[in-house]
Symmetry: D2
Subunit: 129 residues, 4 copies
């Protein structure tokens, strides 16, 4: 199981009139987490970090997220398929679970723009974490 964590500082413009972070901002944060996680798995100069597209995104909003306290984003699991990677993420704020998310990203051959088998090197790094 990979362990990966980043901190996200909520921005004021990400709040909405209900007084908490808007759901669309949280979808945007998920891209930040996912891309940093994939970059952490990828070798520099391999281009591996560049070749992903988002196929699906599931977000469960467990509790409100607020402006003013840092958010911890943990990737709790990442499961390799043939051409896809499923990334599970949880957000915590002040020790409280606020969001659970699951994203499926597909590894693309950038020349042909078709899905491609995940590189073995990336699979190994995924297992070795």
């Amino acid at each position: 199981m990979p362990e990966f964590s980043i901190a996200i500082t909520p921005r004021f413009y990400e709040t909405d009139a209900l007084g908490h972070i808007n759901n669309a901002a949280i979808a945007a944060w998920m891209e930040v987490v996912r891309m940093e996680f994939i970059a952490s798995l990828s070798r520099a100069d391999s281009g591996e970090a560049q070749n992903w597209i988002l196929a699906s995104l599931q977000i469960d909003f467990i509790a409100e997220t607020f402006f003013g306290d840092e958010v911890t984003a943990n990737v709790t699991e990442a499961a390799a398929g043939n051409t896809s990677l499923t990334v599970y993420c949880e957000l915590f704020q002040s020790q409280r679970l606020t969001v659970k998310s699951k994203a499926v990203v597909v590894y693309m051959n950038s020349a042909t723009n078709t899905p491609e088998r995940l590189p073995d090197a990336l699979r190994e790094r995924l297992n070795g974490r």
Copy 2:
């Protein structure tokens, strides 16, 4: 089955460096569609449109959405639970299905901030569409 449709004009800032509309912008559009749909079901002055929170959001990205052509957002189904409403939406651009989405929103009692049974009047309007 309710029939509800709105047009969304993609905005240039909603594109990303891959040249199409970014996934986070599409999550944001889903809020626009959902809130307009719920407003269409709600009686003016009833406050019914105000009392919803998003519990979960699922988005499947079927094809790229581009800047330059209008998007049609169709609510294809809306299923009432006890305190929740599940709203299914599809986006089309140039007759092509680009996105399928499912959102679960919960009807809240704004005084007590707890889930509340969907009003009968709203259920009737939902069935009668």
Copy 3:
């Protein structure tokens, strides 16, 4: 003086915790207005609408803009320089002036990526409006 006007429907996620539309959303709206205005001046298929970059943006926030009422965006003046166009815009909501903005955009030669003199045809359409 050109006359150009579009309607903008505020989106809920564009509000912030102060209860009104966030300033960053208004900067984003300005891009929408500016690009629609320039497209209205440009001949189809001429590519004229594509070749602009934003050099500067000035926004004066006169009054709060709220979710729930349509906004009217008026381009009140557009002044052609040699390679640039200065676009003045005002936002109104419920007959109240809420925002005044001035943007300077530069016309770029897309092949050389350098500023280029505004096409005469575009100047004429600008004067003729």
Copy 4:
């Protein structure tokens, strides 16, 4: 002259189809810088950080800002008026100046919602930096 600097990591969704960070995202970053700067000037528990509204924003786009390299945001000057504070900011990426900005924020009495003279304590901290 105050010296204040924060790092901003560009997010992929902040790019646009031209391949660089969109101007609206930069307007949003300016709010981040401004609010962190004001918080740095304000005493904890004084509420001083809460009482500001944006009156005007000027952004000059000097060069493109890209995804992939950290941005340094420097507040280069902050000038106190009677009820307002003018904050000058510059963004650098890879040692290159990309953005200059000037924002005027007004200090509000939150009870009466009217402009209020900047607190002396805040003026002193502003001068003492």
